[in-house]
């Protein structure tokens, strides 16, 4: 019984599967059959255990030889296909050149954009503790229900969190002082200083070349310099142990030298000083009032972030009396660079450019597909013969795919050096500092992209070619079917709609940039020289004033708390009250600016009502306020002059209304602004100079400052240059849009060139017959151009609404923006049309001028 049952037993399945998977297709049934026969025999003779064991060991031992055999033949076929591809390239040099060049350019730009995206997303990832590092973000609820998020926190937060929350491993405050006068006694420079707690060095990866992280910041009057700063201040050598003058009469001991922060670091500063040094300047670091500090925390591993956030949410409410409308939240430090607190930031550009990279690669792939499909009808005979000789459909598909992969590989070989040559250019546009190191990761990525591109662009031609009917193919009666012609038209239209889209986008971005840089700001921005102001110059400002008054080319000079690039001190809500506010309005956000009486004259801003501050009224300093028109409107005051106003419970009297002017970026609308002589320190000096002898005037200013503060080297800049830096990201976007548009057009045109060359060749006899019958050259040109023109027309219809929507969305992020005219669309279409006719025209002209006798000789 038992032997009868085991007699019917089938061999285990897995060994059979292994062999099925590996053996040469034709041998498969025989091998399985043989295995079963032996298995049945063993089962009878030795029993099921031995039989199973034998099948298993046999299958496993077969793996090696089977694989070796298969890969040998794969290799043989590969070499064969390679030969075919090379012959094909040799025979159709023009076609291959167009194909490879287009794809290489597409791949190179894809690689470049990927590098840039990799760089942008690598920000702050070099810190070993990156996973646990967070920045504290204050979220303030404004009276109008909006939320304002900022990184300022009170100084007392850090010691409080460290003491109260066990999840925190380390925490540090950070105060970045952009313009601090620092130097040895004989030479001083304005430097950027970061004041931090000693924990800073435990949290962030800072590499010391001299000194050590444990002790460098432990004494209050120490300073850690980067190598470049050490060299600047101590060019003669050794910096550690030397002293730098600090503030009015203090000094800091250099205790360490560190490597510069990498360029992809959002905390970039040239020197670190213990926060305790700020006490010299009269700061109280442990109070809950002012928000001068940024706070960073390092959480212990496996901290439940959500629970922790819930715990700290109400920290302000419980501890800081004047922060009660705010909540405390955290964000990972790796997000600092990419995500702005208001929701925008480089992440938008990363998204836009990822899309662009893919589109450009797609354009190049469309070219390859289009050309290969068109060419496929020229090689119909080859395919027919292959089929007749017994080639499987799968083998043909594989061969054609391999051809396109090889093409992609050739392009890749061109694209990589091209991309690496263009990296410096990319760095110049984007301001990034990308190094093109061709390491394993990059190599694998590039290889993957190249192979994928090859496969994707070869799929359709492979499908078309391999499913050709061999009999008709050999007879030469295969004509491109309706489907493939339609596909070709659609792809062409796609390419051109993308080109038109990009041209429109480029014009739009360019217009907006011009608009931003040329818009009337409400003040005269030209001929104003600006420089940073710090404690030392503040101390002798009056002397500087008399010094400056000697030169008639210096028309006016003022100090201001605003630098016209970033927002000012702001307040709002219940902190601002005013007389005549019957309906109980609350102002959500008010900017406070401090300025000298000369401000209105220097900036040439006009008054709408009343007067600006004046030296003739000494009381102005203590009790007068000037508001802008928007503030007057928001406050609901018809006659503001003379009204009382109180800010943080301190009374002022409104003496004038200044006409609205843009006091920072045009991305936002003009907001309420109040000038008072409080709450903000002077940051900048602005000097209006006359139009004549500008270099001499600048030299005079430098000398005057050097005379007043010996050893001081001011960095003078023109205000309009400074303002341009506000729109740096727009400028970059414009540059990128320009070049990518060019690229897209180039790729599309190259594709069109190849296409017309093929389609005219295919229609040689048709054209000749038309001519013989009596068609004029003009008619034939029109006939041939029609296909292209229809595609371009269709492309317009697709591109217009998309471009319009995209541009409008982008422009709407600006409170002030250029208008979209129909002109730019027409211009885009016309240029696309012109390019299409130019790139296709050569072949068409040649075809239409050809002598029909020669053409009909063909074959």
């Amino acid at each position: 019984m038992s032997s009868a049952r085991s007699d019917r037993r089938d061999p285990p399945r897995w060994p059979e599967r292994i062999i099925k998977g590996l053996a040469w297709a034709e041998d498969r049934p025989s091998i399985i059959e043989n295995l079963r026969e032996e298995y049945a025999y063993l089962l009878l003779a030795k029993g099921p255990r031995t039989a199973d064991l034998w099948v298993w060991s046999h299958a496993l031992r077969s793996v090696g030889p089977c694989l070796a055999y298969r890969s040998y033949w794969r290799f043989v076929m590969f070499v064969n296909n390679l030969k075919l591809v090379l012959r094909g390239i040799n025979r159709h040099k023009g076609y291959a050149a167009i194909n490879i060049a287009g794809l290489a350019v597409g791949l190179a730009s894809f690689i470049l954009i990927s590098l840039w995206i990799g760089y942008e997303t690598s920000y702050d990832r070099f810190h070993e503790n990156r996973a646990g590092l967070y920045q504290c973000v204050t979220e303030q609820r404004l009276p109008n229900g909006e939320r304002s998020r900022f990184v300022n926190t009170p100084g007392a937060l850090t010691p409080f969190l460290k003491a109260e929350r066990p999840e925190i491993l380390n925490a540090t405050r950070s105060v970045e002082w952009m313009d601090f006068l620092l130097g040895t006694t004989d030479k001083r420079f304005i430097e950027n200083i970061r004041f931090v707690d000693p924990d800073f060095l435990k949290m962030f990866s800072v590499e010391f070349t001299e000194g050590c992280a444990e002790t460098a910041l432990s004494r209050p009057h120490s300073i850690v310099l980067t190598q470049e700063l050490a060299k600047k201040h101590f060019p003669e050598g050794e910096a550690v142990g030397r002293e730098l003058a600090f503030g009015l009469d203090g000094s800091l001991l250099v205790t360490g030298v560190i490597k510069s922060f990498p360029p992809n670091s959002s905390l970039r500063s040239l020197s670190l000083v213990p926060l305790a040094a700020l006490e010299d300047l009269g700061w109280d670091n442990d109070e809950w009032q002012s928000g001068n500090y940024q706070t960073f925390v390092h959480l212990k591993e496996k901290t439940d972030l959500e629970a922790f956030q819930a715990q700290i949410l109400g920290v302000y409410e419980r501890n800081a009396p004047n922060w009660e409308s705010s909540a405390l939240t955290l964000r990972p430090i790796t997000q600092i660079h990419l995500h702005d607190l208001d929701g925008g930031g480089p992440i938008l550009y990363v998204a836009v450019f990822s899309g662009l990279a893919i589109l450009i690669l797609l354009l190049a792939m469309v070219n390859t597909t289009n050309l290969a499909t068109a060419r496929s009808f020229l090689r119909a005979k080859e395919i027919g013969v292959r089929k007749a000789a017994g080639a499987f459909k799968r083998q043909l598909t594989r061969q054609i795919l391999m051809e396109s992969v090889l093409m992609a590989l050739f392009s890749g070989c061109l694209a990589v050096p091209l991309a690496s040559a263009l990296v410096p250019v990319l760095n110049r546009w984007t301001g990034a500092r990308i190094g093109f190191a061709f390491d394993v990761k990059t190599a694998l990525f590039v290889a993957g992209v190249v192979v994928l591109t090859g496969v994707a662009s070869g799929l359709y031609p492979a499908f078309v070619l391999s499913s050709m009917n061999p009999v008709r193919a050999i007879k030469g009666s295969v004509k491109p079917g309706k489907n493939s012609l339609l596909l070709r038209k659609i792809l062409l239209a796609f390419q051109f709609s993308l080109s038109i889209f990009m041209i429109v986008a480029m014009i739009g971005v360019n217009r907006q940039l011009k608009y931003l840089n040329a818009k009337e700001l409400g003040y005269n921005r030209s001929q104003i020289v600006t420089m940073d102001l710090d404690a030392e110059i503040s101390g002798c400002y009056e002397i500087l004033q008399t010094e400056m008054a000697r030169n008639p080319q210096i028309l006016s000079m003022t100090r201001s708390s605003s630098n016209f690039e970033r927002p000012n001190t702001t307040t709002g809500g219940a902190d601002v009250t005013w007389e005549g506010n019957a309906s109980g309005i609350e102002m959500p956000r008010v900017h406070l600016m401090r300025a000298d009486p000369e401000f209105a004259e220097t900036f040439q801003v006009e008054m709408a009502e009343g007067r600006f501050f004046s030296n003739a009224f000494p009381n102005d300093l203590a009790e007068s306020a000037v508001i802008n028109e928007t503030a007057a409107r928001t406050m609901g005051l018809d006659a503001p002059v003379g009204k009382r106003l109180s800010i943080w419970d301190r009374p002022f009297r409104i003496i004038g209304v200044i006409k609205d002017f843009h006091f920072y970026s045009l991305r936002e609308e003009i907001q309420p602004l109040i000038f008072v002589h409080r709450y903000a320190g002077f940051q900048r000096i602005f000097i209006r100079i006359g139009p004549r002898n500008v270099p001499e005037t600048l030299e005079f200013i430098r000398n005057a400052i050097g005379k007043v503060v010996p050893g001081y080297v001011p960095s003078l800049r023109f205000l309009d240059d400074n303002l341009r830096t506000i729109y740096q990201s727009e400028k970059r976007m414009e540059t990128a849009a320009k070049y990518f548009t060019l690229l897209a057009i180039l790729i599309s045109c190259v594709g069109l060139l190849g296409m017309t060359s093929f389609s005219t060749k295919q229609r040689t006899r048709e054209i000749a017959i038309r001519k013989v019958i009596g068609a004029s050259e003009g008619r034939i040109i029109v006939q041939l151009l029609r296909e292209t023109l229809i595609s371009v027309a269709a492309a317009n219809i697709v591109a217009y609404p998309l471009a319009y929507l995209a541009l409008r969305t982008w422009l709407q992020s600006y409170a002030y923006h250029a208008t979209l005219g129909i002109g730019m669309f027409v211009l885009a279409s016309l240029s696309a049309l012109a390019l299409a006719i130019l790139s296709g025209g050569g072949h068409i002209l040649k075809a239409s001028l050809a002598n029909p006798v020669d053409s009909l000789h063909y074959e």
Partner: protein, 108 residues
Amino acid sequence: MKGISKAEEMVLLAVWRLGDEANGVTIRRQILKSAGKNYTYGTLYGLLRQMDRKGYLRRAKAEPLPKRGGRAKSYFKITPSGTRALKEAIELHQLVWKNIDALSLGKP
């Protein structure tokens, strides 16, 4: 003049010896018996395919098995050029080993 490898020689010899009976199982067993080599089918069919290509062997199908869906078993037959190749292999063998006996290998 293509020579054949030792393994090919063994397979060819087995096919020749088995005559009409040469299928995968019998060839494998023959080689195991006469040369003590335990080939897997993976290796064996690779060799068979190679010699088919060189023209030393020919595949033949037997009558389908007399049951439903019965497959035709495939057999291998040696071709005249296969027999010639075997003869050449033997000649080569003898040529190479000529005079080796005279060196009295057996005696220490």
